[in-house]
Structures are given as structure tokens and as C-alpha cells.
Subunit: 346 residues, 2 copies
DNA sequence: CTGAAAGCGCTTACAG
DNA sequence: CTGAAAGCGCTTACAG
């Protein structure tokens, strides 16, 4: 023991940080009992529990989560890794998860990969250093190392957004392929024959590509022409949607419908059509994906596919919690489905 | 020492978790040296550094952040506390902060208060248990205990969103009062005389109330009538904006302009006016606040006040980092200002 | 530039 | 139901 450890607080002044020990001393019990009152109150007699509670309040004790996490090798933290924070879609999932996890005393640790799987791997690796209780991660596509790392981790992991078989552990999402197919069916049923798909950054936004593939299957089934998707390099935005509409109409006069990869683009297209005096859906039908409320207020109302994003976050968090607490968590995979909301735009 | 500690790994099998010690053994150095290579590489000779780096890579060592945080009493985590995650405004601040902090190896810990200051206090208290390196918190209004707690904490704190004097520590934001006044001046200059303010949950969303107060001051200065604000209990949404517009026109036929507390409401109002055939701005002028890009695509384009939300997050994070690293962080308070974007809607 | 010792504030796994 | 001992995996503050 060093002669005068700098860390040793002078006995006469009140300690700068209140620890379990201080609470224990004041309550006249052992530190362990205090720990139990905090973590498993039912395991302590009412008498002691009251004494300890009094001491905690009197001293304003705040448990050191870091020490607890180190000793128990787990923390009440759950990382959520998403491709991007600028996309409303991921935010709603985060929101849903936050509601459930916060209520249960868990904190979300935020990570975004910028749609880069290598970055995702590095991030997951770092975040594991926090001994999280579980993890929520967007998508079913990861590097092999990320998959291996999370598989051998032996803590609950939920992959969210798209639905698929063989997740790392659990999965909550919907089939973007089927969603694309459904929208195709809708457009064909309404009589459109020359249908294009317009998206953004589809090399990395592979879920948008899946929606296109679904559309493609549908068009082939109906022996209709299938054009390759237009994929812009910029990020999705309403403004880009308007520009893309104009360019598409210019390049291919025969188009009678456009399925945009998301509502932002589609809403921008409708607004632009309004300004340019292009009749929707008479000259060109416009459809989106996501089911933003705003779409329903457009003139004409946007036809879109509604996905329950907040529910995805809630279900994911609920299943994660159940597993963390050792309870029944239900099926490993959940297809939350989607619904097509038909409006006047198609 | 217990006879057979359950935690002791059998010597023959590879350890389930790689620690500093394993790396040190493999590299033939002491654990401290490994720690130095990770945290202060310049303090280690190149020879040892290479050996250690090799060992880290070979073993796939991931530093246990929790242990590091406990030993050093600080972690590379920064909580960001906002009123709500459903509001785009806070998300953009989070995004800005995330970009800067992630790049520097810090993780954001997410907290939302649901606009409840008691909840904010409890949350801040809990999050302090993570020994964060600093904290970002929305708003300048907190409970006295929250303020006291953060003041005595002696780590950097940045309050964001609104600008004001006497922050807890640092502050980055804009004057919502001035913004309201500016919009008032704009409306008056364009000839409007009967101006109303419509917001949502203004008891808790006090920044919206500040914008109203700014408008009020302006109207008084011009000897114009000032109506009390309409404040709806529901959350802001485009749909509500449309409904609010109709109700306001119905209740007060003399209105010639409405300043909505945010663009969501204002955009909804413009879309509703379109559907109802109400001429904007001829019958009623409409203005918003936030500067969403979408507003510029409306017909007519929405007059609004642009606030640099992402920049607020970036500046806040940058100043926080500077202080964490013991560098110059510049002025304690930063007024990021705002600009009025006049469109055809007024 | 490098290392041996002690400790951060909790919880685990016993034992009673 | 309660507690004494040990340890979680790092870093701090010395000393050399």
C-alpha cells in the first residue's frame, strides 16, 4: 500500500463520490445488502430494505453502472446499429426500441455505419467492449466476421428491417421483395404497362434493390417490359425525386408509372408534377414506399406501402428484453408484414 | 482465495475472453505497456509497440471499455438528452453530434425526456453513473437539482437548441425569441395585420412559446392586435396543421396570416388549403419555422426560418471534445443565428 | 521508456 | 435472509 495514495479521501470531509460502502455504513449493513436492495429487493428483509432505502435517499447515492457492469460482465446498455441517422425509417425503429428499453431501465448506445459493412464490423466490435446486454442491428447482410462475432457472443441479437430466414439470432422485419411485388400487382391492376423504378444508392441500400426485384418478378409474370432501375448516387430527398421524375419522363416518353424507392422521392415527384402542370396519375402514376403520413395529404394522395417501423423497434426490443431476463421470447423471426395504401396518385 | 474459483479458466483451453494480460504475455511485455500502446502510443518505443500491435491483431483483442472506464473514472461515452425522438429537429442535432463524436471514438448514449423535466433529472442522474466524458443536453431549462448536479459534476456540459446567457457550462443555439420577432417583422412588412400563432403543447415546448413571445413583441411595437397563441395538446403533424388552419379561419374571419410553430404544421396547412381551394397567401398567409427543405417545394413555397440544427450538434460536439481533450474550446456560448427564407406563402 | 503494486466500485459464489 | 472474501480488467501514480 503506497504511503499516501492520492485517491484516498481525507476522512474529515464528505466523500466526493458516494459509493455502496457509504450507504452500507450509514444503514449499518454490509455493502452486499445494499447491492441486493438495488438489484433484487425481494431477496432482502423489509427491515433492512427500509434502512438501506433511507440511506440511499439521504446520501443521494447513484450506483456506478460501470463498476456493476465490470463485476457482473454485463451492462444495462443495448447498442443499436443502423446504416444512417438521416433516414426517418431508421429513426422510427430507434424510437420504438428506445421506448421499450428505457422503460425497462436500459440505455441505447447509438451507432451508424453510413451503409458501410466494414464500418459496421468495427463498430460492433467496439460496442461489444461495453459488455452490452444485447444488440439490435439493422439488416441481415453483414461481413462474415461480424456474423461470426455476434454468433459466438452468446447474448441476444436482433436483426431488424428486412425479414429473412437464418438470422444470426432473432429477426424482426418485412419482406421488401414481396412489397415490391405487391406494388407491381397494384400498378398492373390499375392498367399501367410501362413501369419504372427509381431509387438512390441502390448498391448499398440493398433493401431498395429487393423492392425492385419484387417489382421485376411481377412484371415478368405479366409479360410486361422491365427496365433496369434508375439509381441515383445522391441521398434520397424530395427535391431529387422531382428532378428524377423530369429526367425519366424526358428519357422515356412511354413511361406511364414510376415506383419510387421511398416516399420522400415520391412526394417530391408529386410536388414537382404539380408545379410543372404534369397530370398525376393521368400522364404519369406515382407510387412510393414507407407510408409517411404526409403522402396522404398530397394532391393526389400518394399510393404507398406502409411498413410498421416503430413496431419493428418495439418488437425487437421486447424480444431482446425477454431473452435478457431469461423469459420466453417467442418465435426467433417475426414477419411484421406491410400494407398497400392506395391513393389517387396511381 | 477459494479452492476452485468458478471464474478461473482451465489453463489448457484458450481463454474465452482475451484480456490485456493475454496480449501482454504474447508480446512479452507488461500489461501496462499494452495499455499504453492503446491509449498513448507515442509513449512507447517503436519496438515494443510493434510487438504489442502484432499480439493485439493476432489475438483479436478488444479492449474492455467498462474496465477502462472504472479504472480511469471516465468513459468514452457522451449522453445526449433530448425532449423527444419523434421530432426531426432533435434528430438533426443528434446526427451532427454523432458525426463528430463517432469520428473521435466516442459513443452517444441516447436519452429522451418526453418533455418532462423530472424525467430529465432522473435520466441525467442515471447516465452520470456511466462516468461519461461529457454531456449534451437540450434546452436551458432544467430542474434546480439537474442544474446543480451538472454544475458540480466538473465535466463539460453543452446545452443546445436555444441560446441564452448563464448556461450550466457551455451553450450552442439560437434565440427563438428573436426568430419570432423577425418573422413578425416579415409579416408586417408584407402588409399583414391580423396575425395568429398556432403551436402544439406549448406548455412544455417552451421554445415555441418563445417564438410566440417574439412575435408578440413585434406586434406590440407596431400597435397591431396580438391574439393569444392557439396551442394544441396533440403532437405536431402535418395533418393537425391542416385542421388547425380550418378551425382558425372559422373562429376568426379577420385573420390574414398564421405563423405556425413549425414547418410540419405549416406544410400541412398549405396542403390543406390546396385541397380546400383556399388561396395562399391571398386569403391567408402561412409561415413556418425550421427551414425543412420540403417547404421550398410547396406551391406556394413556404416562408420559414432556417435554423442550422445539424451545425448546432456539430459545434456542441466539437466544443465538448476540445474540453475533454484539454484543448481550447473557444467561447462558452455560441449563437448560431438563423435566417428567414421568404417564399410565396406570405 | 518500462514495470510492480494497488485500487476503481461493484457482484459473484460461497458459507452460515 | 445476511455477510466476508475475492475478483472483474483495466489505469493511476510511483519508482527506476
Amino acid at each position: 500500500m503506497p504511503k499516501t495514495p492520492a485517491r484516498m479521501a481525507a476522512k474529515s470531509v464528505p466523500p466526493s463520490t458516494i459509493t455502496l460502502k457509504h450507504v452500507a455504513e450509514r444503514a449499518g449493513v454490509s455493502p452486499i445488502t445494499v447491492s441486493r436492495v438495488i438489484n433484487t429487493p425481494d431477496a432482502v428483509s423489509e427491515t433492512l430494505r427500509d434502512k438501506v432505502t433511507e440511506a440511499i435517499d439521504a446520501l443521494g447515492y447513484v450506483p456506478n453502472r460501470v463498476a456493476g457492469a465490470l463485476a457482473s460482465a454485463k451492462s444495462r446498455v443495448v447498442p443499436i446499429i443502423v446504416p444512417s441517422l438521416s433516414n426517418i425509417v431508421f429513426l422510427e425503429v430507434i424510437q420504438g426500441a428506445q421506448d421499450v428499453l428505457n422503460a425497462a431501465g436500459y440505455q441505447l448506445l447509438l451507432g451508424d455505419t453510413q451503409f458501410d459493412l466494414e464500418r459496421e464490423q468495427a463498430l460492433a466490435n467496439t460496442l461489444l467492449g461495453w459488455s452490452p446486454a444485447g444488440m439490435i442491428i439493422a439488416g441481415l447482410r453483414h461481413t462474415d466476421r461480424t456474423r461470426a462475432m455476434l454468433k459466438t457472443w452468446h447474448r441476444p441479437v436482433v436483426e431488424v428491417m428486412e425479414y429473412g430466414t437464418k438470422p444470426i439470432d432473432m429477426n424482426v422485419g418485412l419482406s421488401h421483395y414481396k412489397a415490391g411485388d405487391s406494388m407491381g400487382e397494384h400498378l398492373v391492376a390499375r392498367g399501367y404497362r410501362n413501369i419504372a423504378f427509381i431509387g438512390c444508392r441502390m448498391k448499398v441500400d440493398y433493401r431498395a434493390m429487393q423492392r425492385f426485384k419484387g417489382l421485376e418478378r411481377c412484371l415478368k409474370r405479366h409479360d410486361l417490359p422491365c427496365r433496369p432501375p434508375f439509381s441515383h448516387d445522391e441521398m434520397s430527398s424530395a427535391e431529387l425525386g422531382g428532378d428524377a421524375l423530369m429526367r425519366a419522363l424526358d428519357l422515356d416518353k412511354s413511361l406511364d408509372a414510376i415506383f419510387f424507392a421511398n416516399d420522400d422521392l415520391a412526394i417530391g415527384a408529386i410536388l414537382r408534377a404539380q408545379r410543372e402542370g404534369i397530370a398525376v396519375p393521368k400522364r404519369i402514376a406515382i407510387a412510393g414506399f414507407n407510408g409517411l403520413n404526409l403522402g396522404a395529404l398530397m394532391q393526389p394522395a400518394l399510393t404507398t406501402i406502409v411498413s410498421p417501423r416503430q413496431r419493428i423497434g418495439q418488437i425487437a426490443a421486447t424480444k431482446l428484453l425477454a431473452r435478457i431476463l431469461g423469459q420466453q421470447s417467442g418465435a426467433a423471426t417475426v414477419d411484421v408484414g406491410f400494407s398497400l395504401r392506395a391513393g389517387g396518385s396511381t
